[in-house]
Symmetry: C2
């Protein structure tokens, strides 16, 4: 009879060695298994016949041992439900300090509304379409796909990505210059190490935007490179300053967010796109183009990837974390030819490869058009939220300037100087999680800090968006001129 | 009408800026897209109406542009199949050197039979059961599962692993001391760095078995630690030598394969298990237990994990690479409490987390009993192959001593001294890929080298096993005494 305990003796380690006969050993082994928690309360034991067969001992020995353990209170036997580990078996051994609870913080620690940036509305993950793609991909996959794969990633995914990136983002991509990685951070780490190793004398520096993510700067620093902030203004990063910065310090590359500066939300001005590429071209440096949300643009003319201007000097970095879900841990780099081998050499000795089945599933998801369909749906949804945000501000806080709304999953609301910290804090007290611009300011950034809120309208699930918007509007500072205006009108 | 080109203007980057009117810009943009390969041969273009709507231009402008490009040979229009990129469109721009073909080597470069170790029979991956588990897991998953996860891994998987490892391998596991990682190598890298950082003065060393995998030793070396070989004999690694080695050099930990030494195949003798744990306990060192194939044992009494003897001094490392497939990139460590925070701190700044959806799928696969069922089936299959190997040797090469057959996916065939290299080479010439023991010998290993073949009977798909076995038997050296014996009998 096939049942899940047929090979109990093999699946549960029972050590029948030691002093005494087989019966004593079996009793000891079963007691140990219960005491240590290896057999947990309520677990059903195999029939005495099948355990006896598995262990190669007499059935009566097992039956007698069961009976004795029932008598001792370790096991319980009930008609029709077999022999199980008793409810009140002696307490499990302590094997360390008190358990830490894994998983997210307790619900009451979490904010009611979350408008912090960094992830899309994960409640909209296309579970059904993804599973359908997984089914098609795994059914069609050759056997070798289940073995070890290439550090560059599955050829199927790289081929489909090359087509998709060319079509959707204007990237000039060859599958051989694509490296799939487990998230943007892994890609940036590999690139930083490759660029650090490439230079002669000293580890060199990377220019970063004066507003950006601190953990991106940390990845660069851990790779042994310094960071130099590049001022961000209303036209994006001042890339025209790269030559002067480079003359003073050894700049290997500049990490930019050209399509939608993170966090200020502005696109990089065409002149500055040209300046960035010109600097890289004339010095042999690189632009690292972080295209984290390039797929989400709400105006008619999308901004194509900078990489299209010069694939030999721009590294394109894209990710499924914003377009699908961070949980997938899938991102991709399109590398200049010179960087392919150094990056793969580093990847081979460390991260090696991402899971092949997820890669094959994403390839199928892209090839079948499901990715385009999902993006279209999400674009409509995020645009509607963006419009609701803009409308709510126009109605209830017209004095607050909003920017960065042409694209992406977040916008920036300017605040009066010196007020950001107290507004973020007050919002948190009221259950609304927000980030201020100061969170993203590079330590040595030039110029005065800018006060503002980074409002990630893409983050909450649909049902929580209206509430989050209401909480946001309530948290904003009052119009300084409003009392007078109201008075004048009255 | 919903079709995959409805938002062509958005999904295909068309830049309509530049000199001339809209029509000239559209012509230029479409030509560029075809020339660069962003629109590939045969791709169907959207209807003129929908592209016009997407770009916000007149329909006639699009229709005229299409007609002109058809006339120029860029596009082709056929009744009922719409407008497509023409078969003989002008050649795609070269964007780099000649393409390297991604993917495995050409079939004719590959051996006909592969008996090299390192992976299971991947043709037996349980695709249907895995997909069913994925469906259940993704359907039931909370939304937060699609966001960023914990560096330790999904709580669902750690909880199920703790139960499974206790039950099947005698591991004393608490979910809070489990860290899920993307393969054994990642785990070993994290541990090596944590152990290197923990010591005072100098980076210290790790004892490794004198026969083992070179890329494991490399991971340790790259973390800044030295390696010291520990002689492997018929009873496994000589762990009783650890105290003397440690006195001479600063040994932080010993990396062992207690259940089934890789590659020699012997289990670690009980006295040596005790010696290993005693050394770790008395010095504050650690045993790193690589339980790569612990689930595959063919004798009645499985060898439980060493970790059960002392969870505070033994790190247990398990993996899905041999039990399911390397492609999953899922492995797990059960850590002593002291190592949990240092390892997670390192993981947080680097690899962060493995894909959550694969983790949830594995959790469901384990919890549903599918993992046990798969292992039972594979155990039977591998045992049958093992028996066939032993039988074939008994029949056809009784002079060849085989060992390491009680467990795992490979066995070792002893060879006359000095013959290994030529036998491996000759087998390769005949299309049979094999590894010799010398491949796995640590550089500074003491004692004379041992000549032998590591025969991975677990590697080939079922249909290729008999052929591989035949090729193996043919490749073995003849019995030196056989001529005489045959003569005597005749």
């Amino acid at each position: 009879m096939e049942n899940s305990w047929a090979t109990f003796g093999r699946d549960l380690h029972l050590d029948l060695t030691g002093p005494g006969g087989v019966r004593a050993a079996l009793l000891r082994a079963l007691r140990d298994a219960v005491r240590s928690g290896r057999l947990s309360t309520g677990t059903r034991l195999p029939s005495s016949r099948s355990l006896a067969a598995d262990l190669g001992i007499a059935r009566n020995t097992v039956a007698d041992s069961y009976a004795e353990l029932v008598a001792e209170g370790w096991l319980s036997a009930r008609q029709g439900s077999g022999t199980r580990v008793a409810e009140r078996a002696p307490a499990r051994d302590a094997t360390g300090p008190a358990r830490r609870t894994p998983g997210p913080a307790r619900p009451d620690d979490r904010p009611r509304f979350d408008l912090t940036p960094g992830r899309p509305d994960v409640s909209s993950f296309p579970r059904t379409a993804w599973l359908a793609a997984a089914r098609r991909a795994l059914t069609a996959a050759p056997s070798e796909a289940f073995g070890y794969g290439l550090p560059a990633g599955r050829p199927e995914l790289r081929a489909v990505l090359a087509d998709y990136l060319a079509r959707a983002r204007g990237v000039r991509a060859d599958p051989d210059r694509i490296v799939v990685c487990a998230g943007f951070m892994q890609g940036l780490g590999l690139l930083s190490r490759a660029l650090g190793a490439a230079g002669s004398g000293g580890a060199g520096r990377l220019a970063v935007e004066s507003y950006g993510l601190s953990f991106h700067r940390d990845v660069i620093t851990r790779a042994g490179l310094g960071t130099v902030p590049l001022t961000v203004d209303d036209h994006g990063a001042r890339t025209e300053e790269l030559p002067a910065l480079d003359a003073a310090r050894d700049i290997r590359a500049a990490l930019l967010t050209p399509a939608h500066q993170f966090p200020t939300g502005v696109p990089l001005h065409p002149d500055r796109r040209a300046a960035a590429v010109n600097w890289a071209r004339s010095t042999g440096g690189y632009i690292l183009e972080d295209d984290y949300d390039g797929e989400f643009r709400y105006d008619r003319q999308p901004v194509g990837a900078l990489q299209g201007l010069d694939p030999d000097h721009v590294v394109y970095l894209g990710t499924a974390s914003k377009s699908l879900a961070p949980a997938l841990r899938l991102a991709w780099m399109v590398l200049p030819d010179r960087l392919v081998d150094p990056v793969l050499a580093l990847k081979r000795t460390g991260e090696w490869q991402s899971g092949s089945l997820e890669q094959l599933t994403l390839a199928e998801f892209l090839a079948s058009g499901a990715y385009d369909r999902h993006l279209r749906g999400m674009r409509l949804r995020y645009r509607r939220r963006r419009d609701q945000l803009v409308q709510a501000l126009a109605d209830r806080a017209p004095h607050v300037h909003v920017s960065g709304i042409a694209a992406g999953l977040h916008a920036v609301l300017d605040l009066p100087p010196g007020t950001e910290r107290s507004i973020v804090q007050a919002a948190r007290w009221q259950g609304l999680a927000l980030e201020g611009l100061s969170t993203f300011r590079a330590p040595a950034a030039p110029g005065p800090p800018r006060d503002g809120l980074v409002v990630a309208y893409g983050t909450p699930p649909d049902h929580a968006f209206a509430g989050g918007l209401e909480a946001l509007v309530s948290a904003l500072p009052p119009d300084p001129g409003r009392g007078a205006a109201t008075g004048a009108r009255a």
